[in-house]
């Protein structure tokens, strides 16, 4: 299995949509074959269309507010005492997380295809919040599927979705988290694909959804590349990019433009959710060597039992609480371009405490996982190493959990 240079990773799949010949594909019911093919034709055409790119860039700039900041975390770096720790503050984006890029692109595609309704899944609620925001902006009706457990633990985002006029559909099946929300959303699409567009909230699902999402979030690394050159004159000799990985949309977007650099110069570190330290359950299929299987239309490493039943996950962070992982990341793992590890719930909370103690930055529980590993590895790294952590979401949505786990002061003081 080999990563090709000079070709975007999203376009490195084979004719049937498999990366590395085995990750991804289209394991979908017959009913979805046609709508998926239609979406593929549309996307392949529009991603080469200059006018469409201009339109996308216009909304990214004027509505999402790109570029997001690239800042040095001086105090944190001094405290840790190793590498220079920087952050790409993607949570600056309109709505507070990277999910807005994919949501915007899907709404633009839905408009072009003449669909009046758009549906989407959500875990942490950011994908749903952004889709409801974008749908409102572009005049589409919006329906969001969300696990009942996630609805309870991510109330601020649920409120935001409703405020934007979206219908939030609670999903009570299975573990009542993201995995069930994606299933229910796909079911709804099976029954309504003639009138409805579907947005998959991450770089997961049938191949075209993986590609659209990766194409959309790559905005992050396009900006970062310019910002790095502005700051350092060139791409630093020792650069390490840390990002949390649930489905894998923010990390893929954070790394994409650096894909062709040697990994000795530019290393990618993906951090999965290890779950509670005392629990055997986790949401880290790459770290803990889960077997390849099929989930939501794509072949990927996925937590499952020997029979092929998908296993329940556990994580403090709803956004990472997913048993599978993007086929793109399976591909990056097996080609050894990226390295994957996990942080536990407790490590993420500690990292959140540390970051908020030293910096005016409030990463949500998802990027707090990335900070946990970045901080611990930075201690051993040289001063000329540039560590960049993607702070891809804002902790506002986690107020309830943070207050319960850390006490009021960590919510109020920030």
């Amino acid at each position: 299995m080999k990563l090709k240079k000079g070709i975007p990773v999203i376009d490195q799949g084979n004719k049937l949509g498999f990366w590395g010949g085995k990750f991804g594909g289209n394991f979908v019911p017959e009913t979805l074959k046609k709508p998926i093919e239609d979406l593929e034709v549309l996307f392949n055409k529009l991603k080469k269309d200059k006018k469409f790119i201009q339109e996308r860039d216009k909304y990214f700039k004027n509505w999402i507010g790109v570029p997001t900041r690239f800042i040095k975390l001086e105090n944190l770096s001094r405290h840790v005492g190793g590498a220079q720790i920087w952050s790409k503050v993607v949570s600056d984006a309109n709505g507070g997380a990277h999910k807005v890029y994919n949501a915007t692109v899907h709404c633009l595609l839905a408009k072009r295809s003449g669909k009046k309704v758009i549906i989407g899944d959500t875990g942490a609620g950011y994908a749903g919040k952004m889709l409801s925001m974008a749908a409102k902006k572009f005049g589409l009706k919006c329906k969001i599927f969300m696990g009942a457990k996630d609805i309870a633990r991510q109330q601020p985002n649920v409120k935001a979705m409703k405020k934007n006029g979206a219908e939030v559909v609670p999903v009570y099946s299975g573990s009542q988290t993201l995995v069930d929300a994606v299933s229910e959303c796909m079911r709804f699409w099976v029954a309504n694909c003639d009138t409805t567009a579907m947005c998959v909230g991450s770089t997961v699902g049938p191949a075209v959804f993986v590609r659209i999402c990766g194409w959309s979030t790559s905005q992050i690394s396009r900006e970062l590349k310019v910002q790095l050159i502005d700051e350092f004159g060139s791409i630093p000799k020792k650069l390490k990019l840390y990002n949390c990985v649930g489905g894998g949309s923010s990390s893929f977007g954070f790394w994409n433009e650096f894909m062709d650099y040697d990994k000795k110069q530019c290393e990618f570190i993906g951090i999965e959710a290890g779950g509670p330290a005392k629990s055997k359950k986790h949401a880290a299929p790459l770290t803990y060597g889960s077997k390849i299987g099929i989930l939501h239309g794509a072949a990927q490493y996925v937590n499952q039992n020997s029979d092929g039943q998908i296993e329940e996950t556990e994580s403090i962070s709803a956004g990472l609480d997913y048993p599978g992982i993007s086929p793109l990341h399976c591909f990056l793992k097996d080609t050894k371009r990226a390295r994957y590890t996990a942080a536990s719930d407790e490590q993420a909370l500690e990292a959140y405490k540390l970051v908020t103690r030293f910096e005016k930055l409030r990463p949500s529980l998802e990027p707090s996982h990335a900070f946990a590993v970045a901080i611990s590895e930075s201690k051993k790294l040289s001063k000329d190493t540039i560590v960049v952590v993607n702070s891809c979401g804002d902790a506002y949505k986690d107020r309830g959990i943070l207050e319960k786990r850390l006490g009021k002061k960590y919510v109020k003081s920030n």
Partner: protein, 266 residues
Amino acid sequence: MLNPISIAFKKAKQENRPALLTYTVAGDSSKKQSLRILKSISKNADILELGVPHNTPVADGSQIQTSAYRAIKNGIKVNDIFKIVKDFKKFDKNKPVILMGYYNMIFQYGENKFLNKCKLSGVNGLIIVDLPWPENKNFAKKCKKKSIYFIQLLSPTTTKIRLKKIIKDSHPMNYFISMLSTTGGKLKVSPNDILKNYSKIKRIDPKKEIVIGFGITEKTIGKLRPADGLVVGSAICKEISRSLKHRQNPVTNVSKLVKKLKSKIL
């Protein structure tokens, strides 16, 4: 030897009626009950579809999901399913059995090993919901070698060109999904329109048997009589759930329901 599935269609044709296909989830409500249900309905059903329960079923509505989760909760494993089929075949060896499920279950078991077990236990056909054409070409060939029918799904969204290609590659039986829906949805298309679509498909190759499924109940089954076969699934799963809720015997209730369904197409 002719596959018992084809014999079942022949027999139904001789009686001038569509074949009745039932769908129950293997292991619902338990391994034993599931076998008892099969035995009790085999008198009236022509072909028995047995669902391989999966916990992330992207094409199933709430009734079949409920049955699947119940079966999994009660401990059903793939090997138990083969055991149920084998035991059933000891009871009625000529009744065709089709397994229906999601590809991950087969992928984890291993395609070849799965097909060997199908052969050994007496499975006559397979429907894999999320392994569409052309992705299924290779696996369908393997099925053919074992004289197991790989049943292609056709949908109202399948384009004409695609229909032709799929049917050309298909085995003697195909499955037409009546409408845009997950299993068990309310019939939102008139039976007449469904039959119009059915005829279009049938005309491509009249020799291939086409069954219609999704949304078929006691109320609608009679109106779809002209088809080669009709599948009832969610309505049966619903009856099992209803029986359990009212502490009644699902075996006798399901048996009664299937008898009623049969009477509507005679």
